[in-house]
Amino acid sequence: MSALRSSSGAACWPPTAPPTRTRWHTPPVTRRRVLALALLLAPAAAFAQDDGDEVLRRALATEAGQVALVARLAPTVAAVFPGEQPGGGGGSGVVIDPRGLVLTNFHVSGLNRVLTVGLNDGRTYRARLLGIDPGGDIALLVLTGRADFPAVPLGDSDAVRPGERVFAMGNPFLLAEDYSPTVTQGVVSGIHRYRDATGGSDLVYGDAIQIDASINPGNSGGPLFDARGRLIGINGLGGFRPDRGRVNVGVGFAASINQIKNFLLDLRAGRQCQHATMNATVRDQEDEQGRPRVVVDAITREAKAFAAGLRLGDIVRRLDGRPVGTQNQLLTLVSRLPAGRRVTLSVARPREDGQGFHERDVTFRLDPLWSGPAQGEWQPDPELLAAETRLILEAHRQGEWPREWRRDESIARPGGAVERRVTHARGRLLRVERGPADARVVEVWDGKRGFARTPDGEGPLTPGRRDVLAGTAEALAALAGDPEATATLTFTGGEWLDGRAVLRLEARDRAGRRRLLYLDPETHALAGLAYPEEKGAWVEEVHRPGVILRLDHETGALLEKADEVRVEPGPQASELFERVE
């Protein structure tokens, strides 16, 4: 097992948790990078008289480029103080959205609902704690006092290569009283590092970027930039050797931005993010050729992985297609995902006759792994949550989505049966026609009651079918802003749908029926929804252009697929939604 045998201290200043074996009165030895940078720059200045030299001109241009890059990034770097006043302890942060969303470390923010953030304009801003990710050591703040904060784009930390040059920015030792950040430079030492909780720190960094740029107390929560100024991580752990009195050893860790992206929408929804577990443990083994492999050595019967078919002794080959060679790699892959994410584990099971393996895929939703405050202790700030929900709904309603429409689907099921289904919608009213022409079933929800006409006769909808129709009709009407809609909508975080992150809104109508509505985070268009079927099993409906997929919400198994879906916006006659006599 890997274990950083140095004390890897949380790099906030002073630490929010009582440090072990740490004395804070002596500033640790700082580092060489700034000096090295100065040495790098010095020759260019020394040769500056030799103008006309093409190389010199380019060197100076490059230098100017770097200075400009740092100048462009500096306004986005925040000094974060967990309290109503600057001073005392603190860390760093970075603005990722012009309306003032700031990423920092959870070990900097703690559970302080009100914080103070200093930017390099020399001003301090009031910040409120929006969401927390104790398991990933991340917190999201929202600033007030300005409408257009300078913000940085998020990079792709999976594209980062070892040896690549990086900049760490922040406020180590709270040096800058005017909040102008400190820059340190280094290289990426390693990617996808799993740093478990050892050596005086209880922070687990699941998918971390290891860097040799100087990270010191106070750098916590600050940005790690690639050479083009894209945010690739949040600096959080510095390596210090306790036996040598807080000497920086050039081994620092940043939470990768791709991991943070997986939790960002949950953070925006004001939630306490939940990391994930398979509820199984694995161990490293070697095959006959001495090659490493990972074997399931314990699994609980309650695990969703068990229900999906994962068993003791299975050899884990891949998770969602990514190869797994060591226990650390599997931990890294799982710990960067939120609870509830559906994953596919490719496993090999030794055949009973000892000849080779059965290869199989096991798909399930990851179980929650609780960390941080106990369940229920953290609740979203109602005011902030309402504001986030309002923003999303306003963005959605800017799109001109029809209130009335007719949808025609040809549905294929895995068994081979094909069914035509026509849906009419008008506000909260819904009509579904399905089945072949000679055995057509018509179902109607008129906003209060449900009716059905089958070849056998007519009558009220069964309670189960009524809830299926009514719940969806009410949820969609609420999304569209129908004044008569009875459902309320709440932004509850992010969901992974059809290979991408989407916004999740939870709708709950007067009768307590729940629906999950998924919106595209860019266009805010409806990307899909989830609803319980008659018997209670949830269905995930995925909307693609011209295609609708309906999947088992738990396993992702395809229930039905509609190709050539045609949606015709336009008025729907009111008699369509009247009692069918």
């Binding site: 097992m1 090295a36 040495l39 040769f47 490059t62 070892p162």
Partner: protein
């Protein structure tokens, strides 16, 4: 044309840009400042692109040759884990010498995560290096990608270098070891004093000192130039608790070529050479030929003899390692510092009386002091 501390491997670039034909002449000296600036350009991040930065590619090329080494250790600050470099496709791994390598249970993990048994094939504490030989598993050795030792003689302070290693043993299996970069800060001898003499590669005339922090586990990893040439092996952690300093150093490739060549050519493991006592400390006026155990402690330790120089006055007088110096002349010796002070009061040619404690017995010897070293 190098400016002290500010040259960035100018010659290396010229070399790599030169066609590999024998006819190409070295570039005129006047070109050097230009290539220096070219390098400067390469080293500085461009706002538009970082494609000129060569480290990711160089690291990518080197990774398959870097291995994790696991020996016996974990006590008294000796890490059980380290790093090594495959230097020969027949299964030879170059690493830093460590007491932890003296074990039957030596294991090497290659870049693809294969765990192989290894033998300590050749070791030389005085050189600070060890050569391991991988034992072929069933089906033979996997295909190995060696890195050849490059010419390290042109290396100078200010040259950009990087290392690949396993600090604190944080990675294992097929995970890639850690990259760290910095510059050569000095090329010189570690014998100047003040550091733990007993743990130094004392046979090396010079080492490459860098500003890349050395950590437990980094030792044995490659020291590479920006273009990926293997110019050294990261040495064992040398630190002084008295001054709270670590000397981050690497063993120059030039001094390891013979060691590797001899080891690879050998039919069977080569026995470790006997330890040679280091020369007199620089500036000492007199030479007793007696070396004390100056382990790093906050207070000057008792004057135990670590080694005796061959042919020296101490050897002639019959002083042996592990003797405790109890008196020198009329002075009672309680520490190494007492011994140094007492000795400094004498001149070459003086005859002094030593009282030694050997085991449980006390014995007295006389020795005639020689002249000190340069």
């Amino acid at each position: 044309m190098r400016r002290a501390g500010l040259s960035f491997d100018a010659e290396d670039t010229q070399r790599s840009h030169r066609a590999p034909s024998a006819s190409s002449a070295p570039p005129p000296r006047a070109l050097r400042p230009i290539s220096l600036l070219t390098l400067l350009l390469l080293l500085l991040p461009a706002a538009r692109a970082d494609d000129a930065w060569p480290l990711p590619q160089a690291a990518e090329r080197a990774f398959p040759s870097v291995v994790k080494v696991y020996g016996a250790g974990g006590f008294q600050g000796v890490p059980a884990y380290g790093t090594g470099v495959i230097v020969d496709e027949r299964g030879f791994v170059l690493t830093a010498w460590s007491i932890a390598l003296r074990t039957e249970a030596l294991k090497v993990v290659t870049h693809d995560g294969r765990r192989l048994r290894a033998t300590l094939w050749r070791s030389d504490p005085g050189l600070g290096a060890a050569l391991l030989r991988l034992e072929p598993p069933q089906g033979g050795l996997p295909s190995l990608q060696p890195l050849r030792l490059a010419d390290s003689t042109g290396l100078a302070p200010g040259d950009a270098v990087f290392t690949i290693g396993n600090p604190f043993g944080i990675i294992y299996g097929d995970e890639r070891p850690a990259v760290a970069w910095g510059v050569v800060t000095a090329i010189g001898s570690l014998r100047a004093g003040g550091v733990d003499v007993a743990r130094l590669p004392e046979r090396l005339e010079r080492v490459i000192v860098t500003d890349i922090p050395g950590n437990p586990g980094s030792q044995g990893g490659p020291l590479l130039t920006r273009d990926g040439r293997l110019v050294g092996i990261v040495g064992r952690l040398v630190e002084s608790r008295a001054t709270n300093t670590i000397v981050n150093h690497a063993l120059p490739a030039a001094d390891l070529v013979e060691f590797v060549r001899g080891g690879v050519a050998a039919e069977r493991p080569i026995p470790e050479p006997p330890r040679v006592a280091p020369r007199a400390r620089a500036g000492a006026a007199v030479e007793s030929g007696l070396r004390l155990q100056r382990v790093h402690l906050a207070r000057s330790p008792m004057a135990y003899v670590e080694a005796v120089v061959r042919g020296s006055p101490a050897e002639a007088a019959g002083v042996r390692p592990d003797d405790l110096v109890f008196r020198l002349g009329e002075r009672t010796i309680r520490s190494c510092r007492d011994f140094d002070e007492a000795l400094a009061a004498h001149r070459p040619g003086d005859t002094v009386r030593l009282v030694l404690k050997r085991g449980d017995a006390m014995r007295e010897v006389t020795l005639t002091l020689a002249a000190g070293g340069p």
